[in-house]
Symmetry: D2
Subunit: 342 residues, 4 copies
């Protein structure tokens, strides 16, 4: 017997909402019932694409519909908390666009509320659902890399200087979600620096280093001001190193059978300097399904099984806490900020 | 009438010394008279390659030779100061391998002594003499880039974990020399972080952000622990951006006619996000002479004209001061360190 | 006063038809009235996406509709001729998917019929409408390259071995359209070779060299059997060379201020061998509009102004003639085939 | 007991000779006794670098020296035959710079003479001694690729238009040596085309397709007229495909677990088109010794063991025969030329 589809309401039909709508309407797990947006033009656009879906401007009406099991919040981040609270308190499961909220306190509040009401709270950290990031996590979990030593991610291109947030909240949020999902670790402090390329704007190029309880550290370099686009993450373990380059068309993940030992003698030192690699490199075949489609199916599973999604509210809150600490550290020119202080 | 060649003594014939010897012996400006090394094997190697040159282990003998005008110090950094002092006090011009010394105090001392004795003190920051770096400086000086906003340099590969210094002193020293020569600016403080991949070793992956009196900032990312080799520097101005990729065989410098303006409206914002570049890209033809050969000829000119070399003692001392501050900041997990405090 | 939209019928809703449908329905120039396909499943798919369009299996009905001004034929190539004849004889303008037909005789027939009936006959050589190819043509027309000497195009990837045609008809058809539009030249003979990687199949890797009345020659290298994807065209003139790499995300066209002169003396010869480039390289900004959208708008203009489209029936017939000759030459292991003999 | 070094004479100290001299003088297998060149300047250069070696202009004197076991011929190709005959008839082993001679008849003559005198005749096809090409051969021999289907090699850059030979003899000679060593096959016919970019010069861009007794075919694309440098060879078998890119700094050889099957149904066809790769890619670690050093040691072994070198006279003659046939075919615009007819 076929399972019944879950009723879905989508709030926000701006930049990302249409992608959610397309995947929800193609999914057998969900029945897209409502699309809401405050802009009449966006409502008209939604109605044109989805004539069978109720499209309007009243989110409360959609969230309150008894046929709705899950609410998808794709509005500007500033109203994420208000809308998610409304949905949770109405007993709905919620997926919130990233970042979960704009400060740790409200994110923690959502996590607590969802736990209290027994609903699933997921955050739309889409990268976590790609075949490449899943492969990174598998490599770590299976011990192929040895002990993790460092994570280094660069995400730069010529982007738009956003009026409301700095580049950490726009781009580093992706790297932090990959970092957390792949390593299953929570940082203890952060040092961040950055610059605004135009006066009176937010930082458009920024760097953060995350410290952990052991010696593992992570670095994230993000920018809207690079004429060359880079999307590259390096994960170094004691036994192997992995490079994940999201711009590669097919070989996005490369595993290097390489490590560097301290030289014993100066003779050995010179011979080692000559050779860059010490073993084979393997680019494993990756799952090539569209991440958002995987994510939607996974969310349905979590709702039905009452399980925790890969990109959970707790993960989303941890990322928001890190971003908030990084913003504080950046204002202090790199002085480290303890994450427990946020 | 042909000018007489300058007498040269080379102290240190290990890793870099042979390159100096080869260029000195090919130069019409210098007459290589002595090669010294403490290792008998290296002395024998030098003698085999340069049968006409006096090769031995006694640096004092070579430095004291009246026929010697200039001393080239290519020993381990720990003895740079002692040997350079000896040469300066003997009235010789000196070129010292980078880094000039291992702390700002001794570097400053060398600068003061050379000024006092009226001899040229140069540091072997070879990158400064490449066609690519010279082009970067020309672009800045001619105003093509507008106001400089940021400098971001990455220098990573699978290298050797050196026993005596961290990766800043081995690799970032290059980026700092390029940064200083291209921008003619001196930082005021630095925030640095890093990690050692093996216990009880120096940092093998490290990051530093340099702050200046105005809003310009610089970032350097160096590592011996990357299976992918990267040598890339981005210089962003208000009018144009430049990418210098030293691994490109011919088009090392690319000038992008690109800048990012803050969007006025959300309509404009979406349309701008679609397009990455806003103008042409030009890869100018570069001078392809070997940097070390250019450097040797330049040094001869400076000695004869009593002028300051591109990579002067003062520049070398400034770089050492920055490296020292970065080491302090790294130990404090990124807390900014004032360069005047070093 | 707004111009009235042209009535459009789309015949064929398989691989490419949906792209035409999407662009036609988004265009203000056309009013998509009919979609036809022989497969009931494809008709249902069309109806789901375009509920307002008449969708069915009867092409004659659609072509015969008085409200239809233009017919878009996106069926398998084997029925292109029959459907295009039907449309032309009904007085409709026609755009036919590439290749125009599968032999020169039927292509010539369509050209003659369209001329006789005074309707526009266009072929869907989409590359001709990209910003990159338009830039190549502009560079040639403005004389920037000097006299054209050679054209060399590679289009390889791991593709599907098609059951009905060889790789020339699937891939080289693109290179030939680019070649013809950019250079405005018609070849006089062709030498071709190729191989089938599996028994009893058509060639999956193939090469052709085109000869012209003067010394200019062109070479096309296509394959379905390359694990590395390449889409690169080199156009060499006496003054400059251009590389068009369609896989580059932003700098698809690079103009090299480079040429090679015969050396006079052996001294000069050695010095020239050292240096690869003799001038700057420029990557000009390109028009980034979607090619198919540009093509649809251009077709409407041609229909309204009764002018010849960039990718005309005559160009399409010339390309089919070349492909046919290449097939003959390939069977003769490269023996040249005169195009007038086809 | 140490084996005695073989006496060596080097004839020709122009472009390539100095590399042979450097490797011979560093080799324990050979004792470099003579260097000859007709140019007094080159003799002086040799003398400066190798004061202990007899340097002069008289090749007969050097070849006739009883202490000489092996003669290394690195002169212009036009005198290869005369000098090699002289050496063989004097009972010396010979290594001849590539190409062996400029026509098949004289190459065959050298092979016959060397066999008659029982001396080793080797050709300096250096690529055959690289770790990358050895790996290709190993992969083929171990059956990893399945049955070989095709070989496709591109070797283009902005080079010098040579006054005496076309681009086949300068560049394709490398690809042919790799092809022959890796596949152990001899072609039966060749179709070639090409163009001269300047009037009255030899072809500077040229293409050849080689046919074999079975369905395997090979294609070589060479040019002095490409602003982009490419050195890439694709070898496709029924089970795996290999790409050898000589410009990659470390991962020169990539093995793709990929093959393409003919689709059964149109459904399968569409799904297959979506995915480029069907398995992992592996870049095996390669031997990174300098090829010329490996080659010199191998030659000494062959001389001592009276065995056939990897790049034998017979291989060299086969390559010359192919080049000669390609030149004939090119003049006939691709008409295939039977190699037995040369």
């Amino acid at each position: 017997m076929a399972r019944q589809a879950l009723g879905a309401a989508l709030v926000g039909f701006g930049y990302w909402g249409p992608n959610l709508a397309r995947n929800l309407s193609a999914s057998a797990d969900f029945d897209l019932l409502h699309i809401c947006d405050l802009s009449p033009g966006r409502v008209a656009a939604a109605r044109g694409l989805y004539p069978a879906v109720d499209c309007g401007s009243d989110a409360s009406h959609a969230i309150g519909d008894d046929a709705v099991d899950a609410v998808f919040v794709a509005t500007p981040a500033v109203v994420h908390h208000r809308l998610a609270v409304q949905a949770i308190e109405a007993g709905k499961h919620v997926l919130v666009e990233k970042p979960l909220t704009l400060d740790a306190a409200t994110s923690d509040d959502l996590v607590a509320r969802a736990a209290g009401r027994g609903v699933v709270l997921a955050v739309d950290h889409t990268f976590v659902y790609t075949g490449a990031v899943q492969k990174l996590r598998d490599l770590v979990n299976e011990g192929d890399l040895g002990d993790l030593r460092s994570f280094d991610s660069m995400r730069v291109n010529l982007g738009i200087v956003q009026p409301d947030v700095d580049v950490f909240w726009d781009l580093a949020v992706h790297d932090l979600s990959i970092l957390q999902y792949v390593t299953d670790r929570t940082p203890v402090s952060v040092s961040a620096t950055g610059m605004a390329h135009a006066p009176s704007t937010h930082a458009s190029t920024a760097y953060m280093t995350l410290f952990y309880e052991d010696d593992f550290i992570a670095h994230v370099d993000v920018s809207w001001m690079s004429p060359v686009k880079v999307r590259r993450t390096l994960l170094a373990g004691t036994r192997r190193m992995v490079v994940y380059d999201d711009l590669e068309p097919s070989e996005k993940v490369k595993v290097y059978d390489a490590g560097v030992d301290s030289p014993e003698t100066s003779e050995e030192r010179h011979s080692t300097m000559v050779s860059y690699r010490t073993g084979d490199m393997i680019a494993p075949k990756l799952d090539s399904n569209e991440a958002l489609s995987t994510e939607i199916a996974h969310l349905a599973e979590c709702i039905r099984g009452n399980s925790v999604p890969r990109a959970s509210g707790a993960m989303g809150a941890s990322i928001v806490r890190t971003l908030e600490a990084a913003t504080v550290s950046m204002a202090r020119r790199g002085a480290p900020v303890d994450l427990k202080a946020i």
